[in-house]
Amino acid sequence: MTESITVNINGTTYSHDVEPRLLLIHYLREVVGLTGPHIGCETSLCGACTVELNGKAVKSCAVFAIQCDGAKILTIEGMAANGKLHKIQEAFWNEHGLQCGFCTPGMIMTTKQILDRNPNPTDQEIRHGLEGNLCRCTGYQHIVNAVKAAAKVAGA
């Protein structure tokens, strides 16, 4: 039993028949072929699968693809434009905001949400905002620095 959905992902419209039980993360990775959003914990805790759904950061392992019919989705693949990294990606690069890089796509998508809502967050607000994203390398200090650097670039 499948149902048809139409979604806009990173500016491109896709239509697919999906089983209701298909999770958004599996839809993105296996059906659409976007493997930037990662599957870390599969228990909705680690945030590596974070994508933007209608302008809001969500854990795509805790949403069914069918719930997204008609939605606009942004994944890490949609952040860079015209061959140029997004300012948040630049900041993570410059500040060494990643070690193994596995959590990075989720960290960047959540950072976008933090800065969209609060262009000048304090350290505490950044840490509160990143509570849903785990870095198993425990490189949090550099990640917080990267978020601050991205905020600074945006404000300049």
Partner: protein, 284 residues
């Protein structure tokens, strides 16, 4: 982790949804509790009714001395609502501590309340606010108090086929101060213990005290003995310590790998004292 197969409906109207629920389908709101449970196959609904497409279920509206919050209003909408932040800050503050940004973007007040996790944050605030919860079935609607709604662990006053349609909280009166303080389980963000306090002062005396506690036992509850002990007092540090100790008195506390029963009882005392002091400090 792939859930069991199920049928999916996304009706546009509440009546349509209630009709399907009356036939045995189960409601899906934000899915932040249900979908992880389905992935673990702890929940295996055969038919899910997505409430997310019903437009008139998500709202925050003031009417007289109360504020109506629609069932599918997200935690983010609650935490960022200027109306709630100004007139019922306890609910907004509590919402800001739920899970994480991503969970607050999807999770809903109706879903959280109906799920009745004994470690959820909202139930403490709803107890302290003496909130009313409107339950709607295919044929009728009824109103229950938060106190009557939370029956036991994952068990509420909801009957089969009913959903939480709305939560009603009071507008803070003059001289009111509130606070929610929690110890969180670092991975999930759930409350190991959470204490919500609502105090009102007349002159220098506390005329009303309401204390809601979550995470400590099988359900969120009001610490009535402690409330009574505080009313009529001024709220000196010694009084707060004595009252905080009453919050944990006689409670059959939960015990798990995150916190033993004794530790939880201790935390309840400490966090009750902090919430009481913070609430008192916020009285204008």
């Amino acid at each position: 982790m792939i859930p069991q197969q199920f049928e999916y409906s996304a009706p546009k109207t509440l009546d349509e949804a209630l009709g399907l629920l009356a036939e045995g389908a189960r409601p899906l709101a934000g899915g932040m509790s249900l979908i992880p449970m389905m992935k673990l196959r702890l929940a295996n609904p055969e038919h899910l009714v997505d409430l997310g497409r019903i437009k008139d279920l998500s709202y925050i509206r003031e009417q007289g001395t109360v504020i109506h919050v629609g069932a599918t209003t997200t935690h983010h909408d609650v935490e960022s609502s200027p109306l709630l932040r100004g007139k019922c800050p306890l609910l907004a503050e509590t919402a800001s501590y739920i899970g994480d940004v991503q969970v607050r973007n999807m999770g809903t007040i109706g879903g959280s309340v109906a799920h009745a996790d004994p470690s959820a944050d909202y139930p403490a605030a709803l107890q302290a606010l003496e909130a009313k919860i409107i339950l709607r079935g295919a044929k009728s609607e009824r109103t229950v108090t938060a106190e009557d709604f939370f029956v036991d662990t994952f068990t509420t006053a909801l009957e089969p086929g009913e959903i939480v349609r709305e939560v009603i909280v009071p507008v803070d009166g003059d001289g009111t101060g509130t606070s929610y303080q929690k110890v969180l389980q670092p991975a999930s963000g759930f409350a190991i213990v959470g204490v919500a306090v609502r105090l009102r002062k007349s002159g220098d005396k506390i005329s009303m005290a309401r204390i809601g506690v979550t995470g400590l036992s099988n359900r969120a509850f009001r610490a009535k003995e402690a409330e009574k002990a505080l009313e009529g007092r001024t709220g000196t540090p010694a009084e707060i310590q004595a009252v905080a100790a009453l919050v944990a008195k006689g409670v059959d506390a939960n015990s798990d790998l995150h916190a033993s029963a004794d530790y939880r009882l201790h935390l309840a005392t400490v966090y009750a004292a902090r919430a009481l002091a913070a609430a008192l400090g916020r009285i204008a």
